[in-house]
């Protein structure tokens, strides 16, 4: 299998799905002539033309809603947010229109749309450009939320998201676009939504991690292996619907769990996973579930403070030692 970057994997997914289905189009700020702020749409304007690769004004609410309207009458828009920070301006159309249209129309209008772009921390861009918003979107029935952590997952999941008939929030990570991995070239390669992946098998502790935290958790697992602690790393890949079965089954085996996330802890996805585990596997737990989250503060600019705000290998290792009482 070819080794390609996350950016290239996403590009392949978009290209293949646009070739496959005329009703798929890509719209967003700088997606065309500029080829994407993060170059995810490189070459797409050249191949598909301005009818299907559309540069927008800086009007997030407007073009998100435009996408939802187009989806109401059968197109399959892929709406790129330059970053998810700017999706905040579009939340009315995502939450009030996209998520609820099928329901409040009594099943008449499905919304096959993908909202995608980078989410989470970037490098030294301070508070307004460095935030992880998955818990916002995951809160709402009607939305699906996907967060890939490898190039292969990114490609397979984005293809599924585009083919899915529901609105999908597809969250990439600014720091991961250059990350490389093996990716199948097969055009029929897809990864179904709603299925977690065991990124590393282990017996002593379960680490649940998503997006940027997956490679960090895997490095933590390597460190801990040297001390004889065997970690199982699970990547839910889809946050909603959450494959809680796979997580709970792992916890039933390891009896201990650490949940790593970039986002703020309060009302976060980690809190939800923790609650689910307690409700479903309380009797199996040998230690309270432990979260390792981003700081409960806006993201700072200074390099040293920024590093403190994002969970790293050492913090995950420390949490694992806590739940294994080996600290």
């Amino acid at each position: 299998m070819p080794l390609i970057t996350m950016r290239e994997a996403l590009n392949q997914a978009l290209r293949e799905e646009m070739r496959r289905d005329e009703s798929v189009f890509l719209m967003g700020e700088e997606v065309g002539a500029y080829e994407g702020a993060y170059k995810v749409s490189r070459g797409l304007l050249a191949e598909f033309g301005p009818k299907r690769v559309i540069d927008t004004p800086i009007s997030e609410l407007g073009f998100a809603g435009l996408g939802v309207g187009a989806a109401m009458v059968g197109l399959r828009p892929v709406i790129e947010f330059m970053t998810f920070n700017f999706s905040i301006l579009a939340t009315d159309q995502i939450i009030n229109s996209a998520a609820k249209m099928l329901y409040m129309s009594g099943g008449q209008f499905k919304i096959p749309i993908v909202f995608r772009g980078p989410n989470g921390s970037a490098y030294q861009v301070s508070s307004q450009h460095s935030q992880a918003l998955e818990s916002w979107y995951a809160h709402f029935p009607g939305l699906k939320v996907v967060m890939p952590s490898t190039p292969a997952d990114a490609k397979g999941l984005l293809k599924s998201a585009i083919r899915d008939d529901d609105p999908v929030i597809f969250m990439e990570q600014e720091r991961m676009y250059g990350m490389k991995g093996e990716v199948p070239e097969d055009e029929d390669f897809i990864i179904p939504l709603g299925v977690a992946d065991i990124k590393r098998e282990g017996t002593d502790v379960t680490i649940v991690a998503r997006s940027l935290m997956v490679p960090v958790a895997l490095r933590a697992a390597e460190e801990l292996e040297k001390e004889g602690i065997s970690c199982e790393v699970i990547d839910p890949r889809t946050i909603r619907p959450l494959d809680i079965e796979t997580i709970v089954n792992s916890v039933k085996k390891t009896n201990r769990v650490v949940i790593a996330e970039e986002s703020h802890p309060f009302c976060g996805v980690g809190a939800e996973i923790s609650a689910e585990i307690i409700e479903r596997a309380f009797d199996y737990l040998d230690a309270p579930p432990r979260r390792v989250s981003g700081a409960d503060a806006p993201m700072p600019y200074a390099k040293n403070l920024e590093a403190l705000a994002i969970p790293d290998v050492q913090r995950i290792v420390a949490a694992v030692r806590e739940v294994t009482y080996t600290a």
Binding site: G62, M72, D92, L102, G106, F109
Partner: protein, 378 residues
């Protein structure tokens, strides 16, 4: 680009711009400065104007427009009655007074064209050809409702007649309409989208963002602002710095017209022009249609922000009264025909109420259906 300005128009608006900080009473006084005699003269003038249009219109069509306006009026009266009996719940926004807007505009499009509007949607739904039965059943929260009892008054939908809702966030339907028009153009269809919204929605960012994109990308959408001069209890003068809404189109280089919304034929004609522009040149238009709502904002609004006298002055300009009077003067309508219209409307509404009463409640398991089109078990 704004053309005709009927006399219930903006010379008054200019006079009240300084009233921002004044009390509600002065504003009520200021919001309509015509005396009874002036009103009478205006009514006569408008009949004359309308009679010109009547001559150019087929009688069958005139009767159809009249029928639809009466149907909406009586439907809304029935809804108000059912609401006060507790059969309809939640927010229920009536369209009484504004009938000429939906009826006139929708008479200018083809059945395969699209209509989308706000929460004040009963009139548009009826005018687009949705069944009164299914609408009433939706208001009753019944399984037989057009949205299966999940949407209610504010979220009427019917894919079979291209009625795309009923949207309850002020201005929310404007980007959606823009996307529908985008899709028809994308597929090289010659369909047109009509997007209705209140004047308060003009103050939303969604209006600015959508009209900019629509003109930029030449989308076949007609934006119809129903300026009934109030957003809930806030008069236009208290909320908008430049109240000449039609003129705002120049910010986008978009065509626009100011239209008398009490004259169903004026609305129809202006919409025909806009639809033609959309269909043949793929260009959007902004129509500002001046109208008035007689009832409260919703059923729970006692309307303390305006006087009875103000409402009565507008009722003098009633769209149904105007059309039927001009038709009578032209010898196109008599008592007998009017009685027949009322009778047919009465029967249609009785059927709707019966259907709504008899329709079952949604089954409990419907709570969790239609959340996802492709549900994934988790």
């Amino acid at each position: 680009m704004s053309s005709r300005k009927p006399s219930n128009s903006r010379q008054q608006a200019d006079e009240v711009t300084s009233s921002v900080a004044t009390t509600a009473v002065t504003e009520q006084e200021a919001s309509d400065l015509l005396t009874a005699e002036e009103l009478h003269a205006e009514h006569e003038q408008r009949k004359e104007d309308q009679k010109g249009r009547i001559e150019a219109t087929d009688r069958e069509l005139l009767l159809h427009l009249l029928y639809q306006m009466v149907l909406i009026r009586r439907f809304e009266e029935k809804a108000a009655e059912a609401y006060s009996l507790g059969k309809i719940g939640g927010f229920c926004h009536l369209y009484i007074g504004q009938e000429a807007v939906a009826v006139g505009a929708i008479s200018a499009i083809r059945p395969d064209d699209y209509v989308i509007t706000s929460y004040r949607d009963h009139g548009h739904a009826l005018a687009k050809g949705m069944s009164a039965e299914e609408i009433m059943a939706e208001l009753y929260g019944k399984a037989g409702g057009c949205s299966a009892g999940k949407g209610g008054s504010m979220h009427l939908f019917d894919a079979s007649v291209n009625f795309l809702g009923g949207h309850a966030i002020v201005g929310g339907q404007i980007p959606l309409a823009t996307g529908i028009a985008f899709a028809t153009k994308y597929r090289n269809e010659d369909k047109v989208t009509l997007c209705f919204f209140g004047e308060a929605a003009v103050n939303q960012g969604s209006f600015n963002e959508s009209l900019n994109m629509a003109q930029l990308w030449k989308l076949p959408c007609v934006y119809i602002c129903e300026n009934n001069q109030y957003g809930m209890g806030t008069s236009l003068a208290r909320a908008m710095s430049l109240q000449d809404i039609a003129r705002k189109a120049c910010a986008y280089g978009m065509a626009s017209e100011f239209v008398d919304g009490m004259d169903v034929l004026a609305v129809r004609e202006a919409t025909l022009r806009a639809v033609e522009r959309a269909r043949t040149e793929s260009l959007p238009t902004l129509l500002e249609v001046r109208t008035y709502r007689y009832m409260g904002h919703s059923m729970s609004d006692p309307g303390n922000y305006r006087t009875r006298a103000e409402i009565e002055r507008y009722q003098q300009r009633d769209p149904i009264k105007l059309l039927s009077a001009s038709m009578r003067e032209k010898g196109l309508l008599d008592d007998e025909t009017m009685k027949q219209i009322e009778q047919r409307v009465h029967e249609e509404i009785e059927r709707a109420v019966r259907f709504a009463e008899e329709s079952p409640l949604p089954a409990p398991e419907e709570l969790y259906t239609d959340v996802y089109a492709n549900p994934i078990k988790s």
